[in-house]
Subunit: 336 residues, 2 copies
DNA sequence: CTGAAAGCGCTTACAG
DNA sequence: CTGAAAGCGCTTACAG
C-alpha cells in the first residue's frame, strides 16, 4: 500500500502539503494541488484511517448499544441508525446488551476503547446511573434512545429520542372508552424500562381523565417473557362479572403472551374481548384477529438519534434536546 | 489518559517490558510483572486500541454487510453475528446495502479502510463478482452469508453459511403432495438472489420427483415488493379448473403479497387454497390463517458465520468450508 | 504559499 | 531476562 510519503515523493512536495490538500485544511496553489491529486491517482493511495484517527480526536465512527436486538422494534431502530450513519459517512459499531447491565457496561467500555465519536444507547432494564456518569466522565457525546431518563433527574441532562407514550396511550384509551370499555387490563411488563413506565403512567392518567378506576386486578406488571405473561394474564381474564372487557399490551412480547391467554380461555377477539397492543405484529392486517396497534416510528427514531448525536459531536456545549416522535395508531377489528 | 510510558516510568521498567507483560508475548520475571501490573492499576492505564491496531496487523473487529436490514430474517442474522462477535471479544461494524450493489461496494470499501480483520457479507441481489475479487485482492478473510456463491464457479472458493434450501423444499412439496396438491404455485421472487434460486431449483426437483408438472402458469418470478407480488399473483390464482390448489411463497415479503392476493380473490385458507411460506410471520400460531412455515435458523446462521470467519482469520490457508444448516418445518392449518 | 520535524502510543526486531 | 530505539502513517504547530 502506498503511503503519504510515496505520494509526496512522486508529487515533489512535502507530506504536509499532501495532508493539507487531502484534508482541505490550508490553501495550496492549484498547480501544486493538481500534482498531488495526480500522484494520489498514480499510486492508488488511500489514507490510513487508523493512523489518521490516532492523530485526530475523531474516528468517524459511532457506537450503538441496544437492549434487545431480538425485538423487531429495536431491529428497526438499528436499521434507522445504520441508514443515517451511512448517509453521514460514519461507521457504525453495534452491540447488544440483551437487557444485561453487565454486558451493557462492557459493551460501552469496548466502544469507548475504540474511541467512537459518540454513543447511542437504548439502555438495559436494570441499567443504573453509573453508566451515564462514566460516559460523561469521558465527555463522550451521548444520545439516549427509546429508554429515556427522567427529566430533572440526576442524569436527566442528556439528548434523548423517544416516542410520545402519553399521547399514544391517551388516544388508545379514548378509543376503547368510546366503545364502552371501562374495565381495561393493562399488561405493562418490566417497569424498570422507562418506556413501559411511561405507558403505564399514561394509562392511569387517561383512565383518570375519564373517571375510570384502575384497580390492581386490571394491572399486570413485571413480566419479562411471553410465557410469564401468559401465566399471569390468564387468571385476570377468567370469566366473571368483574373481568376486563379489553386487554391492552405494552409490547409485542407482552401482546403475544396475553393473546395466548385470551385464546386459551376460549375468548374470541373482539366479540368476547377487545385487544390492542404497542408495537404489535407485522402484517397484522393479513391475519385474524387483526390487532389494533400503536406503531412506533422505530426507523425514524434511529435516524433522529444519529442526527442528534452528530449535532452534539459538532457542538458539545449546545443545550440538550429531547425529541418525542408521535406513534401512529392503526385501528383494526380487534377493538370492534 | 495514562500511556504506556507512564506505566513504564512508574514501574521502573522499559515500555517493551510493559508491552510484553500486557500481551504475554515474552517471559517476564514474576516480580517485574507484578510491579508492572501495579503500575497499570495505579495509573488506570488502558491500552490505546488505535495505536495498537496500527502496529499489529489486527483490529479485533469484523465487518458485516447485509442486503436488507429491514427483513426479519436478516435482523436475526445480525443478532446472531453480534452475539458471537461479543463472545469472542471482537467488535462488530454493521452496514446495510439495501440490495444496492453500489452501496454494497462503498460499504465494503469503508470496512476495508477500517481494516476489519474479516468480512461477513449477505450480498445484494445485483452484486457481481468484482466485489469478491476486490476482497480477495486485499486478502481479507471473507464469509458469505445466506446469499451464496455457486460451487465450482469462478468465485466459488469461499467460506459460506446458508440453509439447506433443497431439503426444505423437498419436505414442503412432499407435505403438500401428500395432501393431494398437484398444482402448486411457487412465488419465488428475485432469482438473482441465490437462496431464492435454490428454492426454485429445489421446487422443480421435488415436483419432478413426484412426476408433477411445473408449467409457467405455476411460477411467479421476479417480483421484489409485496405490492408487485400481489399484482402478479392475483391473475394466477383466479378461479378456473386450472388454478393452483396451493401457494408456496419463498420469503415473508412474497408471502405477504401472495396472501393478500388470495384474500382479495375471496379464497379461504386452507379450504379454498393451501398456503405455505419460507421465513413466514412471527407468532404465526396466534393468528388465522396459521401459516405452515419453513423457519430458517437465522440466528445460528449468523453465529456460524462468525465461527467460520474467526477460523479463517487464524488459518488463512485452511480449506474452504461450506455450512448448510437445516431449516425447521412448522406445519400448521394453512396446509390442511 | 510550503517544508522540516515533532509526536500520537503503541509493537517488535535487535542487542546484550 | 530486559532495554534502547526504530518505526507504523499520519497531523500539525512552527518557521520561513
Amino acid at each position: 500500500m502506498a503511503t503519504i510519503v510515496d505520494v509526496a515523493t512522486l508529487a515533489g512536495v512535502s507530506t504536509s502539503t499532501v495532508s493539507h490538500v487531502l484534508n482541505e485544511t490550508r490553501h495550496v496553489e492549484p498547480e501544486t494541488k493538481a500534482r498531488v491529486m495526480q500522484a494520489v491517482q498514480a499510486t492508488g493511495y488511500r489514507r490510513d484511517v487508523l493512523a489518521r484517527s490516532m492523530r485526530r480526536a475523531r474516528t468517524d465512527s459511532i457506537g450503538l448499544v441496544v437492549s434487545d436486538a431480538g425485538e423487531p422494534a429495536f431491529a428497526d431502530m438499528v436499521h434507522g441508525v445504520e441508514e443515517a450513519a451511512a448517509q453521514n459517512g460514519v461507521s457504525l459499531l453495534l452491540a447488544n446488551s440483551a437487557e444485561d447491565p453487565a454486558r451493557e457496561t462492557s459493551a460501552v467500555e469496548a466502544l469507548l476503547d475504540r474511541r467512537v465519536d459518540g454513543l447511542i444507547i437504548a439502555r438495559a432494564a436494570g441499567s443504573d446511573g453509573k453508566l451515564l456518569d462514566r460516559i460523561r466522565e469521558e465527555q463522550k457525546p451521548l444520545v439516549l434512545l427509546d429508554r429515556l431518563e427522567e427529566l430533572g433527574g440526576e442524569h436527566g441532562n442528556v439528548d434523548q429520542v423517544g416516542v410520545n407514550n402519553h399521547a399514544a396511550m391517551e388516544a388508545l384509551v379514548g378509543h376503547l372508552a368510546g366503545r364502552g370499555h371501562e374495565r381495561i387490563l393493562l399488561v405493562s411488563g418490566d417497569l424498570r424500562v422507562s418506556s413501559l413506565r411511561e405507558r403505564q403512567d399514561g394509562f392511569r392518567k387517561a383512565m383518570a381523565n375519564r373517571g375510570l378506576d384502575v384497580p390492581p386486578s386490571l394491572l399486570c406488571e413485571g413480566t419479562v417473557t411471553a410465557a410469564e405473561t401468559f401465566q399471569k394474564v390468564r387468571p385476570l381474564i377468567k370469566g366473571s362479572a368483574e373481568r376486563p372487557t379489553a386487554v391492552l399490551a405494552c409490547s409485542t412480547l407482552l401482546a403475544a403472551g396475553a393473546l395466548r391467554a385470551v385464546q386459551k380461555e376460549g375468548l374470541r377477539v373482539p366479540d368476547d374481548m377487545a385487544f390492542a397492543a404497542f408495537d404489535g405484529f407485522t402484517y397484522s392486517d393479513l391475519f385474524h384477529p387483526q390487532i389494533t396497534t400503536v406503531r412506533q416510528p422505530a426507523f425514524r427514531l434511529g435516524e433522529s438519534a444519529v442526527g442528534l448525536l452528530l449535532k452534539r459531536i459538532e457542538h458539545p456545549g449546545a443545550p440538550t434536546t429531547i425529541i418525542r416522535l408521535d406513534s401512529e395508531l392503526e385501528f383494526r377489528r380487534s377493538t370492534g
